[in-house]
């Protein structure tokens, strides 16, 4: 109840209240005209969204997940302002840039450079602003060589790259992204994700809708799960995602046993998620304060939905500033790959922790079976080691003081 009170008091970047979008479905186009003329109802009502409310604080990021047809795109269109809700209202504070579709509005006969101008103007930039950003846009898109060719000669990947480069150069306060990012080659996708992470670090508000739990997990503090146009769950990302994945797993199992399920998991990318990283003591009780030389266990919980996947796990410790103290992987340790399926626990047991007093955190990572591609990573909450010795530095090194000269002199 407290949080409800709080929400109304803090300034919000996006305030969505009871959004409902109903479409009128006509069996034939003529019915629409007939209804307009005779004023008699000739349609069926279809609610794409019903009573969706949420607030996003400035600098926060919100993920929107759900199956196909759950109303995600409708919600994004309403947030972007191209579609009007049937009832309810949205308040947006700040410049909004929406990437609902990359490259919409490109003129195929014009060069990439010319299209930058019109497209950026569509997103609200003035000519001077575009001029300032032109070279940035071109270098980010990586299309320096072809920028003066007509865009009709571009591949669809190049098209998207230019579109993304333009849309994110607007430097919006609120960025709305549809899953458009699943296009382009791996390297460019990575660049896009990095740019969005950069946005969220520089305290911009981001709203992302995606089927990639990895992306959502990476970017969003909070997540909204839409199911048949309604909010099924709304809260911290990790909790909502595991709820959603559990639900999807349930659906797959239902289908497997022949039970009828109204929803399917198509469009979902199977991935391994690290849902939790915890520091526990030898009895597996979570702890925040460790004694030096105590037994510590780093426990991670992973979830793999969809098909079982092979991979390797890496666990390490870091200082608060990100400097790594130690790290190891199942591959380095000479272990076989891990078969990920469903929910799993993996532990790294450290019999005696040799780090000196200070604040640290553990970092866990899951990679593919060649330990080449990172699938997911996650940090634990920071923990404190209470030093038994007041030495300086990071790790305990066994040592002894000796004074050979003095002992000789003593003789």
């Amino acid at each position: 109840m407290d949080s409800v009170k709080d929400r109304t008091e803090i300034l919000t970047a996006i305030d969505a209240q009871h959004l409902t979008k109903a479409y009128r479905v006509y069996r034939k186009p003529f019915d629409r005209l007939r209804e307009a003329v005779t004023r008699r109802s000739c349609h069926e009502r279809f609610e794409a969204l019903s009573d969706v409310s949420f607030q996003v604080a400035p600098g926060d990021s919100l993920g929107i997940i759900g199956e196909n047809g759950a109303g995600k795109s409708t919600l994004l269109k309403i947030l972007a302002g191209t579609v009007r809700p049937t009832s309810g209202k949205v308040e947006r504070r700040g410049r909004v840039s929406a990437l609902l579709e990359l490259g919409s509005g490109f003129h195929p006969e014009f060069s990439g450079r010319e299209n930058i101008y019109l497209n950026a103007a569509l997103l609200g930039l003035s000519e001077r602003e575009v001029k300032e950003r032109e070279s940035d846009i071109i270098s980010f898109s990586g299309l320096e060589d072809v920028i003066d060719r007509p865009v009709k000669t571009y591949s669809s990947g190049m098209y998207m790259r230019l579109g993304f480069a333009i849309a994110t150069s607007v430097d919006p306060e609120i960025l709305i992204v549809d899953e458009a990012l699943s296009v382009g080659d791996q390297r460019f996708q990575q660049k896009c994700v990095e740019r969005m992470v950069g946005f969220s670090r520089s305290s911009k508000t981001i709203i992302v809708c995606s089927h990639s739990m990895y992306l959502i997990n990476e970017l969003c503090a909070k997540t909204l799960w839409l199911c048949n146009g309604r909010v099924r769950s709304y809260g911290m990302t990790a909790a909502v995602i595991s709820e959603y994945l559990a639900y999807l797993e349930g659906c797959i199992q239902d289908e497997g046993t022949g039970a009828v399920s109204g929803s399917s998991a198509d469009g979902f990318v199977p991935e391994i998620l690290i849902e939790d990283v915890q520091i526990t003591d030898a009895e597996r009780k979570p702890i925040v304060n460790l004694e030096q030389f105590q037994t510590a266990v780093v426990q991670i919980r992973t979830r793999c939905s969809g098909f079982p996947l092979r991979g390797h796990v890496s666990i390490g410790f870091e200082l608060a500033d990100g400097r790594q103290i130690f790290g190891t992987t199942t591959k380095i340790s000479g272990l076989d790959f891990v078969e990920f399926a469903g929910e799993q626990f993996i532990e790294l047991v450290i019999a005696s922790i040799p780090i000196l007093g200070g604040e640290y955190r553990a970092k866990a990572m899951v990679g593919d079976e060649h330990a080449l591609r990172k699938i997911d990573e996650r940090y634990s909450a920071s923990f404190v080691v209470r030093g038994k010795h007041p030495e300086i530095g990071i790790v305990w090194i066994d040592h002894q003081w000796r004074f050979p000269d003095e002992s000789e002199a003593g003789c």
């Binding site: 972007a80 191209t82 019109l118």
Partner: protein
Amino acid sequence: MNLFRQIKRWIEVPFRFRTLFQGFLNNEIRGRFAGSVGGFVWSLLTPLANLFIYIFVFSAVLDIRLKPMETGTDSFAVFFLAGMLPWLAFSEALSTSTDLFLGRANLITKVAFPLELLPLTGVIVPFFLNGLGFLMYLGYLVFEGYAHYCWVWLPVVIGLHMIFTLGLIIFISSLSVFLRDIKHFIGVVISLWFFLTPIIYTVNMVPEKYRWLITLNPMYPFIELYHQVLLLGSLSWSLLGYSSALSAVLFIGGVVFFERSKYAFADVL
């Protein structure tokens, strides 16, 4: 009050979104000829081709003779172009209007921008393109000694004609989002309308009993004004008042219709 604000928006938007508006205009004008070898020449060729066909049929075959007292000229070509050039701009705006919103469905559903810019572009572009031919025509008139101080009214007449066209295409472009059939018969309407407008004939050639039909035609006062100002060097105040009223009514009607229907565009497109 609300209506006033809606109309004000149409005047503000092109200034507030200047860059985008210029972008649209630029896109339309250059996009029309991008990839074609002839480029701008085509926009001059269409009226020229029309001119030769009509001059051949009406001047050479049917041997229509103009009375200089009525028309201010005895040259069929001069008379014909005075009405035909404005008509071409108008009919081009009209025939492209059905696609203004429909053809940009992808953009309208994906990007939030002021839709008012599209009909505005739809009027300005054809008037601009045909304006080039019109300037050449004016040059010819000056050369032949038709120039008259009454020509100062020309911008007023063109302005009214553009507002009239704008009102009409706002209406048609919005309506065709819901009624796609319009696209298919707009061509027929335009060619019928052309023959009902005194461009290849003068009003006085029409038998008395059908003349009311011509005067009902909302394009009639505009074409008549062009004829008067350009060739006769006179201006009928009643026609000017009539066409101002027509423009105002059509524009306001178009704006009201647009305002009511624009929120549904993204749903229907």
